[in-house]
């Protein structure tokens, strides 16, 4: 590899890592918020097993983005094939639904129960929508305490629809941020010339530099400001553009080059 190629590769890698880290910094608080909302909403309807299920690929399969409860960790490793189970139906139809007696007919949960020893008896599932698009399913299982569990009520179905709206906005923000991360991952794995070990070390060194940490901090400040309202967003944009204009007149521009 020539010096120029190495230099180019380094620039490319640096931008990929920055993209990934910004995306991570943005997604981490979102996953935490989704989980918190899951917990609060579950408590509201006297349940403690809840999950957010989202699209996985283009074939209509689903995966667990977030889950709380006894089998949460197990669920997060699983996928639901297209159209299967209550979640599959709610995702494709957009209609909320509650079942009093799940039993063996829901093949997905029958399989999960077999693997975990858990017993899924009653389900409440409602679609997550953003801009008219169904982006996932919010699902609650069983009640707090011992079986037999009281079925979820019609009023509880209406109540979780309100939580679904809030959770859907977070899921949408998460999915957007994740696109950057996936893009970065793809770019990294596509380049066969790179030696993985060397690259990891390089990434580690890069992450430890002050410049990189400052860049992440800046991204977080911008995100925080942008979330405070239109006036703050406009002001922030105005200030940053002024700084850029000012720095364009200087030779040293690296501090805002990302």
């Amino acid at each position: 590899m020539s010096d120029d190629e190495i230099k180019n590769l380094e620039i490319k890698l640096r931008s990929i890592v920055e993209t990934i880290d910004v995306a991570n910094a943005l997604t981490a608080p979102l996953t935490l918020s989704i989980e918190n909302l899951l917990r609060i909403s579950a408590a509201e309807i006297n349940s403690e097993e809840a999950s957010v299920i989202v699209r996985d690929g283009d074939a209509g399969d689903l995966r667990f983005l977030s889950a709380i409860g006894k089998v949460a960790e197990h669920l997060k490793t699983l996928k639901i094939p297209s159209g299967k189970g209550i979640a599959g139906f709610v995702f494709s139809s957009g209609q909320p639904m509650a079942l009093a007696d799940v039993g063996a007919e829901d093949t997905f949960y029958a399989e999960v129960d077999k693997q975990t020893g858990y017993s899924t008896q009653t389900i409440l599932a409602t679609p997550l929508r953003h801009d008219g698009e169904i982006i996932g399913v919010l699902e609650y299982i069983n009640r707090i305490g011992e079986p037999p569990f009281e079925p979820f009520t019609s009023a509880e179905m209406d109540k979780v629809a309100l939580f679904a709206e809030a959770i859907a906005s977070l899921v949408n923000a998460y999915e957007s941020a994740k696109l950057f991360r996936d893009l970065g991952d793809k770019m990294l794995s596509a380049d066969e010339k790179l030696k993985l070990e060397e690259m990891r070390k390089w990434i580690k060194d890069l992450r430890e530099t002050n410049e990189h940490k400052e860049m992440i901090d800046l991204a977080l400040i911008v995100r925080e400001l942008a979330g405070r309202g239109d006036a703050e967003r406009q002001m922030c944009k105005g200030i940053l553009e002024s700084v850029l204009q000012y720095s364009d007149t200087k030779t040293e521009t690296s501090f805002l080059s990302f």
Binding site: G60, G83, S93, Q95, T153
Partner: protein
């Protein structure tokens, strides 16, 4: 027979006399009435539905178009079977036509559903059960157009309301279809009509025990399950009065619900009178 002035003076009860209906329609079975269920398919082998499903078709993407092939894949989710089971309990002799648009691989939300509705209108099924909907704004205009065509073709479209804060289509188009949300009462004949509301009809939809996959039964809650109750009621009405137009069907539902409400109110006031005596 009522007069227009009586109607204008807000005496809604008198509208029921336009139909001069007695309760004999309640004894009908929906015989010969065609009912399309646009859903996840129907399990034709279920004990409650054997011999009742006249045709099953399934949506398939064909070069950016949606076509319908004869289907023997049954029900992919259980939901279509549940809806057909509810209709069949009220109208056991109705003829079912299953139009499978959910679980059909590769077809986007809304597209297959719209094509399924068009297929049902083209075939002029008398009643169309739509226990699904979409909130995508791009479907607003084509759905509106399709529902007008259904109305003109004499097909009665019954749609489940969405219980989410956003409007869902077509359930919010109140002029050309009948939209239904759930209530707690379990008696199918005890449906409600909330004149002036976006979702006008209410019907049983809370833990309804109905047919499910593998010849089983499930207790289900949702507006999805209120909608087929009204479809069953309309099947009885259409057997008794086959020439009713969609407009007249809606008016008949209004008249029945109104009359029942007045009877209940009269009974209540009679009881109060007795108590005060």
């Amino acid at each position: 027979m009522t007069t227009v002035s009586a109607y204008e003076s807000n005496e809604h009860s008198s509208i029921s006399t336009y139909f001069q209906m007695d309760d004999s329609w309640k004894l009908r079975t929906g015989k010969g009435v065609s009912v399309a269920v646009i859903d996840s398919g129907i399990d034709v082998s279920h004990a409650d539905l054997q011999g009742k499903v006249k045709e099953s078709v399934e949506a398939r993407a064909d070069n950016k178009r949606v076509v319908f092939d004869k289907s023997d894949t049954g029900d992919s989710a259980g939901h279509g079977t549940a809806c057909a089971g509810i209709i069949s309990r009220i109208a056991p002799d109705a003829e079912f036509y299953s139009i499978k648009v959910l679980g059909a691989g590769g077809l986007g939300d809304g597209i297959a559903f719209l094509a399924g509705l068009e297929y049902a209108v083209k075939n002029r099924y008398q009643i169309i059960n739509l226990s699904l909907g979409t909130t995508k704004p791009q479907f607003f205009a084509p759905l509106h157009d399709l529902l007008d065509r259904a109305y003109q073709a004499g097909c009665v479209v019954v749609a489940a309301a969405n219980n989410l804060p956003q409007p869902s289509y077509p359930s919010v188009f109140s002029s050309s279809l009948i939209s239904v949300s759930k209530h707690e009462d379990a008696d199918p004949f005890n449906f409600g009509f909330r004149y002036g509301e976006v979702i006008e009809l209410t019907a049983p939809g809370v833990y309804i025990r109905t047919a499910w996959l593998n010849n089983s039964y499930k207790s289900l809650t949702g507006n999805s399950f209120a909608c087929p109750h009204i479809v069953g009621i309309i099947a009885l009405l259409l057997e008794k009065y086959p020439v009713l137009t969609p407009f007249q069907v809606k008016s008949a539902l209004y008249a029945i619900a109104q009359e029942k409400q007045e009877r209940n109110m009269a009974n209540e006031s009679n009881e109060e009178d007795k108590l005060s005596e």
